[in-house]
Structure formats: structure tokens, C-alpha cells
């Protein structure tokens, strides 16, 4: 059973097909980098996998379940464009909230542990409102990781992060991959992604034009794939 499988997924915005007959499968433990130009449908695909959007045709399964099934949702860690934590709550309260919602055992302890791992323990009781952008992003990472998901869905996770924050995230993702978690991430920052990716998929105007192990060429020259398929 694949960790993530999409079969013939079409998504229309009205009559405009944003995704066309996407067929994709990611095995457990793989890390897929989802590439594509602006507007090619990466965000749409990730949101469909996360169950935040419904596809008009085709089926999606997460560990064999529908994405809206609660066991699928428990297995997922999602990091979108927004950080998904509340400005009016403190860092600790935010993590506690999500730990509770995910039914984590020992929510308080788990929240504290993740504050520590993301280097936020000294501001645990400050309101998020007062955080700088980097700190917010760290907290978002903690939120997405705290229930030890076995599937990560990340939409442009490296955007607007500095080198340190990128290193933190890469470290955590590597660790997760080692314990067997599956990762799907979209990105324009190919260099950062190539360090993690075992597999690459390229979207072009809603069609999946390439899916396979990361070509060796891309380590040296990240845009190699675009040039191969970009004009297709």
C-alpha cells in the first residue's frame, strides 16, 4: 500500500482544469519534491491530498484511506502558506491546543518538548502576536511536527526563511524521513529541496509531466528538469 496515491485526479475551478488526470503514488519513507512553474497547480494538488479541497474526479488515498477519514488526518502534518497558529494565544497554548486536537498523549509535555526543539522555550508564554517572522515559522513547524505525523504535506516551506530556519526545518525533516515518514513538498527553491528529495514530480499547467527518482543531474543544476520538460 502506497502512503499517498492519487488516481486520475481532476480539479476544475469552474471550467478551468487546474489539475488534469493526476496519477501519483508515493511510497512510505520517500520524499517527493513537487516542482512546477507559478500557477501549475502545486498548491491545489497539496490541498487536495490534505483533504482541504475536494477533487471533481478521481480518487485520493492516504495510507489506503480517504483524506477526510480521521485516521488519515491524524497521520498528516500540514504546513501551508500561513503559519496556522493563533496570534492571541501564547506559543505554549498554541501547541497545547493542537496536541489536544490531535489527541496526543501527555499534551503538555509534548508541547514543551517541541518548544525546546524549535528553540522557543524561552518565549513559551509570550503571545505569538509579538513574534518575529522567523519565530512564527518555527512555531508553525512545531505545530506541524508535534503529533509525529507519518506524512508531511509542505507547501513552499522554505519561502522567506533565513539560512538558520531552513537548516532547522531540513534537520527535522531528515530525522522524520529516517524514522520512516513520507514527505511531499512543493517548492521553487530547488537547491534546498534537492538535499532531501528522493523523488521528483514536475507539474506543467495541471499535468504531471515527470515523476520518478531524482535525476542525478539536478544535484548540480537544479533547473535541469525544467529545461527538459519546461516547454512541454
Amino acid at each position: 500500500m502506497s502512503a499517498v496515491a492519487a488516481d486520475g485526479v481532476w480539479k476544475y475551478y469552474g471550467d478551468f482544469p487546474a489539475l488534469r488526470a493526476i496519477r501519483l503514488s508515493v511510497e512510505q519513507g520517500e520524499c517527493l519534491a513537487l516542482l512546477g512553474r507559478n500557477g501549475s497547480g502545486k498548491t491545489t494538488l497539496i490541498r487536495i491530498l490534505a483533504g482541504l479541497l475536494g477533487a471533481q474526479q478521481g480518487s485520493v488515498s492516504i495510507f489506503g484511506k480517504d483524506p477526510r477519514h480521521s485516521s488519515a488526518r491524524e497521520a498528516m502534518g500540514m504546513l501551508g502558506h500561513g503559519i496556522g497558529v493563533y496570534d492571541e494565544l501564547s506559543a505554549y497554548e498554541n501547541l497545547l491546543l493542537f496536541a489536544n486536537l490531535y489527541g496526543v498523549k501527555n499534551p503538555g509535555e509534548c508541547a514543551r518538548e517541541w518548544l525546546q526543539r524549535t528553540g522557543l522555550d524561552h518565549v513559551a508564554s509570550s503571545l505569538v502576536r509579538e513574534f518575529s517572522r522567523g519565530m512564527r515559522q518555527r512555531l508553525a513547524v512545531a505545530r506541524a511536527f508535534l503529533h509525529r505525523p507519518s506524512l508531511f504535506l509542505l507547501d513552499e516551506p522554505f519561502t522567506a526563511l533565513d539560512d538558520r530556519a531552513i537548516a532547522l526545518l531540513q534537520g527535522l525533516l531528515l530525522e522524520a524521513r529516517e524514522r520512516g515518514a513520507t514527505i511531499i513538498m512543493s517548492t521553487h527553491q530547488l537547491r534546498e529541496a534537492m538535499e532531501l528529495a528522493t523523488k521528483v514530480a514536475l507539474l506543467n499547467r495541471g499535468k504531471l509531466v515527470f515523476e520518478g527518482p531524482r535525476p542525478a543531474e539536478m544535484l548540480q543544476d537544479p533547473t535541469w528538469l525544467y529545461r527538459q520538460y519546461g516547454e512541454g
Binding site: 476544475y12 475551478y13 469552474g14 471550467d15 478551468f16 475536494g54 471533481q56 499547467r205
Partner: protein, 231 residues
Amino acid sequence: MTNMGNNILYVMGIVAGLWLARNVHEIFLGLPDEAAQGAIYRILFFHLPSWFTCFTAFLLAGVSSILYLTKKNLVYDTFAVSAVEVGTVFTVVGLTTGSIWARIIWGIWWTWDPRLTWALITCIIYAGYLMLRRAIDDPTARAKNSAVLCIFAFASVVITYKAIDWWRTQHPGAVLSFRTGGGRMDPAMESILYQNFFALLLLTSVLVVLRMRQEAMSREIEGLRRHAHAL
């Protein structure tokens, strides 16, 4: 659509027109004046059928909204919006004919009687539906959100319909035999009334189908534009 479909539509339109013309002739020349109200009571033959028509349209729109939410096929949404648009027009016709009638026999255009008030609220709610649609760009989200609203909105139609039973109103109570058990209206009159209703319903169907085509067309154009943009 096919030629065949077009022809059927033309025929339906013509039949509706002729039928309405015949009804008008009958209403104005065939029927006698009413004892209490004189000539003005004839407005009933337009007042009541337009309310029936709009209620029917709203009911069908609600059903089709439920279907959209279960089947996710945009055709249902297209039908719902077309029905609501045409229905809203008939709501306005009903309000206008009612107001004119009120002006003549009550001496005022409007009074805050429950029936009248609820009719106005229904009009506002469905106007809100149409406004909500214009505020959403993505056709799929638009269909979904307006379908939900359309289901909620139908409550106001029910209240409007039942208002004369639930409250003491200045607006006259039921006259049709299926609600009163008969006796409040001359059968000849009632038959004309129904005929006018069905003629209007026929006209409505033609309008709805035309509007559906236009809606489908504009959605297609929107899709093509996005295609062009993506190049």
C-alpha cells in the same frame, strides 16, 4: 444546444405567449367586475400566479442546490441560479402588483403586515443570494457557498406562505379551494387563475432554460480566459 432543443424552446415560448394573451382577454373582457372591489380585483390573476411561480422557482432552486451538494455537478448550480434569478423577478412582480392593489383598496402602498413583511424579506434574502454569487470568483466555491445559502433561504418562503395561517393579517387569507376546501372563489375564476399560473410557469421554464444556457456559456468563457492566461 441542438436545433431540436431550440425549436422546442421557441414553441414553448410562443405557446406561453399565446396562452397569456388569451387569459388576459378572458380576464378583462370575460369576467364580471367583483361586487366589493370593482375592476381592480383582476390584478389577483397576476398577483397570485406570480407568487406561485416564484415559490415554485425557489423550491426547485433549493432542491437543485441539495443535488449540487451531493453530486457536485455544476449543472445543478446553473439551474439553481437561473431559477433564483427568474424567481426574484417574479417576487418583484408580486410585490409590485400587491402594492398597486394595496394602494387602491387600502389607500397605502405598504403596511407592515406579516404576509407583506415576509414577502419583502424573501425578496431581500434571494437578492442576497445573487449578491453572494457575485462576490466569489472561483465558480466551484461560488456554487458550493450559494447552494448552502439557497437551502437556508427556503425557510423564508415557507414562512411567507404560512404567514396568513400563523398570524392575523390585513392581507386576505386563502381563497384557493385546495387550501380552503372550496367555496371562497367562483370555479370559473379559479380555473382562469390556474391557467394563468401554468402559462407563467411555461414562460418561466423558457426563461430559466435561456438563462441556464447563458450561465453555462459565461462559465465556459471564464474557463477559456483562464486558459489563455495560463499561456
